[in-house]
Amino acid sequence: MATSLEINGRTVQVEAAPDTPLLWVLRDEAGLTGSKYGCGVGQCGACTVLADGAPVRSCSLPVSALAGVKITTIEGLGGTHPVQDAWVKLDVPQCGYCQSGQIMSAVALLAGNANPSDADIDAAMDGNICRCGAYQRIRAAIREAAAQSRA
């Protein structure tokens, strides 16, 4: 079944059953493999994308629910988004597999809160697991990106 999605500012036609999770449509149909599969049940955050600016778990979101919704994936950030720059500056990634999801959650946090407290960061980022344990640098990079954005 053909479905029309708005991904990273472009309208994309995909062939997918309505119950197909957005993640598999992004990865297998749209060729956008930056968003990762980690758990399939919305527990790990590796698949996080933005839906109208809000962080969502694309593994648990059927494409049928996304008519008219603006979807932003890691590829849609452009590569030199302040959050991405902060991630590079502090060498946040280790294995890197969770980082697309971490970055999308951080982007959503900073879009709504230019100066997040430690508690704000904890609340926004606790849905994103990093088994390499880069958490300390993730927190630091969020503060760094916030400082850069304010400067």
Binding site: E75, Y97, Q136
Partner: protein, 730 residues
């Protein structure tokens, strides 16, 4: 242009007979414990340039370093490239890294004899090899420059990829000299720099090379492989360890749009489809019946109870199972008048739970030969296991090695479990069609290869000064090596390393250490820091309890024992951590401190954790770490590994626990298998002991120390010992 030679062109036309003989030779050789790298490389077609297997230099002077190891987060890309760049005097900003192909002859781990990553050896085993490679290439450029400029060979110097001659004022980049340098015979023993001359190694300029790619979604993992005609497979796996397929009905599965085939393989039934979602839907519609006659009957609770009984000397041991001694001195059972300390400790099965579940892409039966596109932790093992299934020469199996979304040990095992599964499917699909095997999180969790469930029983008689006079130690745990080609002749030391060889045992006059290694149907494997995952906890938590019994400060008590054992590196890191943590100053209100020190993979780590008990649960704040890992290549990445290793260890301390019920894995996803999350992660400070010794391990030594440090802080706060992990049971 670099000159390329085909190292094994003569082997390209191997006959069928030679293939079979080759495979048999290789398997046989491995079984007797040889490392026949030459045999294992038969059939490989690896192009080696003028500067050897590790270095390629482009016409514009840009340097590419080939990483024979996997990059699964530990920063090997940057660390290995920095070693080459230092000796080559390359421009670090123009050094990039590529994964080396699979070739056991060219790319063997010098500490293993086959190509593979593990035991925190990527940097240590490459240290001299890559220094020599870089220095030889540098010498080729200075010789080429000297010849071109007609000056003595000793006079040209190199800096940032530019060769210069001070007296004549001449200079040229690597690119300009490339052709002439490529024609020079590399020196076999090139002159290496002294530590004092290092300009890159040990500086904060050595940063990761992959951070941008890993922050944009561009980094390529096995999960992301796209190829023309690629099919995706998921497998219905046995519900219990040891169960086999007895039958299946695929009528409904085949009706799912996009499903192209359903195939029985040794580990289950594979559904092959044009997309991941179709494959998953197909598997949902598949009906499989299982023969569970030989399935593992026990659950984790029964295993734990049995281990405790055996360690206590109760109940008969199964036939052929016997206690084996790992350390003995004097008569530990002799009577004495000192105080007696006794404790038992229990550790659960643990899943590695890498963020990227196991997966693989394989092509079999096409004109291009057998090819894997996969994050391969042990290319040689993966080649061997693939060759046996695909009936080809191990060395001819091509591997394009990719980034791995974590491993922590999981991606290397003697069966190459998930790789072999993919090769079985790809062989049935045939025609060289690329097949991507995708494991769901549930598949990954239920496949096992866990850190073994482990029980310790410790009895210590103290002397009049409160120090251990006699130490009796019993460990019950599955062997990681039994039945493998690398099985040791004596005991499997990976089960007891860290207790065995501990400075505390060395400082104790009478020691009786024994291990019992039962066999179970649960597959077990090394898990980041291996034996130390439990031995460090037992030794360090026991020592704190002894110190408290003796009325001594835990740091002073350790220092005294380290003095007795002559453990100078332990003393140095402990003093450094204690100083940086302000051990002798009062902790902030409501906070207690816990200390632990442990040596693993050649490095010694001391940590002091600050812990606050919140709602009965330890909340870890600041963690001060000191590490002696020999020469520090990348201080920033050493810190990153200590930070990350600490989180991995803290996750196991607080949360991780795999529960089995009658041989079936109960916890199959992160909703029931909680792991450490951001809000619980400590802030780790890392202090590196200055050293000019060869580099030792960094990927794992940061993991085992945090558990006992936290338990010791909790002990200080509550007076209660932690005798079972995890501390918070879901």
């Amino acid at each position: 242009m670099n000159a390329h030679v085909d190292t094994d062109a003569a082997q390209a036309g191997a006959t069928r007979r030679e293939l079979v003989v080759g495979t048999a030779l290789v398997s046989g050789a491995l079984l007797v414990g040889c490392s026949p790298a030459d045999l294992l490389a038969v059939g490989a077609k690896t192009e080696v340039g003028a500067f050897g297997p590790f270095i390629r230099i482009a016409a514009d002077g840009a340097v590419t370093v080939f990483n024979k190891h996997i990059e699964f987060g530990q920063g090997a890309h940057a660390g290995l490239a920095a070693i080459v760049a230092e000796e080559l005097d390359a421009d670090w900003s123009r050094v990039s890294v590529e994964q080396a192909p699979a070739n056991a002859k060219l790319y063997a781990n010098t500490l293993m004899g086959v190509q593979g990553t593990g035991g925190s050896t990527a940097i240590p085993n490459s240290w001299m090899q890559l220094r020599k490679a870089g220095a030889a290439a540098r010498a080729m450029f200075t010789a080429a420059a000297a010849a071109a400029w007609k000056v003595p060979e000793t006079e040209p110097t190199v800096k940032d990829g530019v060769v210069s001659h001070a007296a004549s004022g001449k200079s040229a980049g690597f690119g300009e000299l490339l052709q002439a340098a490529s024609a020079i015979t590399p020196p076999s023993e090139p002159k290496l720099k002294s530590h004092a001359d290092f300009t890159l190694i040990g500086t904060d300029r050595v940063r990761r090379k992959d951070s941008r790619a890993k922050s944009t979604g561009e980094a390529r993992y096995t999960q992301d492989v796209k190829m023309e005609g690629l099919l995706t497979a998921v497998v219905a796996h046995a519900p219990r360890f040891g169960a086999k397929v007895s039958g299946f009905d695929d009528a409904e599965a085949r009706k799912v749009a996009g499903v192209v085939d359903v195939i029985q393989i040794p580990t289950g039934v594979a559904v092959v489809a044009r997309s991941t979602w179709a494959a998953l839907q197909g598997r949902n519609a598949l009906k499989v019946t299982w023969d569970e006659a030989k399935a593992e009957p026990l659950g984790s609770a029964e295993i734990e109870a049995k281990y405790a009984e055996w360690a206590a000397g109760k109940g008969a041991l199964p036939e052929k199972l016997k206690w084996e001694t790992f350390e003995t001195r004097g008569d530990a059972a002799a009577a004495g008048d000192g105080e007696i300390f006794e404790a038992t400790y229990d550790f659960p099965f643990l899943a590695h739970a890498t963020m990227e579940p196991m997966n693989c892409v394989a092509q079999v039966g096409g004109k291009g030969g057998v090819k894997l596109t996969v994050a391969s932790q042990s290319p040689t093992l993966d080649q061997l296991n693939t060759a046996r299934i695909a009936m080809t020469l191990p060395g001819s199996v091509q591997i394009e090695n990719l980034f791995a979304g974590g491993s922590f040990g999981r991606r290397a095992n003697f069966q190459s479990d998930f790789v072999a599964e993919c090769v079985h499917i790809a062989k049935k699909v045939g025609k060289g069609t690329p097949v991507k095997l995708v494991w769901t999180r549930e598949d990954d969790m239920a496949a096992g290869y866990f850190r073994p469930l482990t029980h310790h029983r410790v009895k210590v008689r103290m002397d009049k000064d409160g120090f251990p006079a006699a130490w009796t130690h019993r460990v019950v745990t599955q062997s990681l090596m039994k039945g493998s080609p690398m099985a040791p002749k004596g005991i499997d030391t990976s089960t007891v390393e860290g207790a065995m060889g501990s400075p505390y045992l060395k400082a104790t006059p009478a020691v009786d250490g024994q291990v019992l290694m039962p066999e179970l149907g649960v597959p077990v494997l090394w898990w980041r820091s291996v034996g130390a995952t439990h031995t460090a906890f037992v030794m360090e938590h026991t020592i704190d309890q002894l110190a408290r019994k003796a009325g001594k400060d835990p740091v002073a008590y350790r220092l005294a024992l380290f003095e007795k054992a002559g453990a100078n590196r332990h003393i140095a890191v402990l003093k450094l951590a204690a100083e940086k943590a302000g051990w002798d100053t009062p902790a902030p209100a409501g906070v207690t401190r816990g200390v632990a020190v442990h040596e693993s993979f050649g490095s010694v780590v001391a940590q002091i954790a600050e812990v606050r008990i919140v709602d009965g649960v330890p909340k870890v704040g600041r963690v001060v770490s000191a590490i002696d890992c020999g020469t520090a290549i990348s201080p920033d990445q050493i810190a990153a590994q200590v930070e990350g290793g600490t989180c991995y260890g803290l996750s196991a301390t607080l949360h991780d626990e795999m529960i089995l019920k009658a041989g079936a894995v109960e916890r199959r996803n992160f909703d029931t298998y909680p792991v450490l999350r951001n809000s619980e992660a400590p802030t780790v400070e890392t202090h590196i002991l200055p050293s000019t010794n060869p580099p030792s391990g960094v990927g794992e030594p940061g993991t085992p120390v945090i558990g006992p440090a936290v338990a010791n802080a909790v002990l200080a706060a509550t007076g209660k010992a932690t005798l079972r992990l995890p501390m918070i049971r879901a």
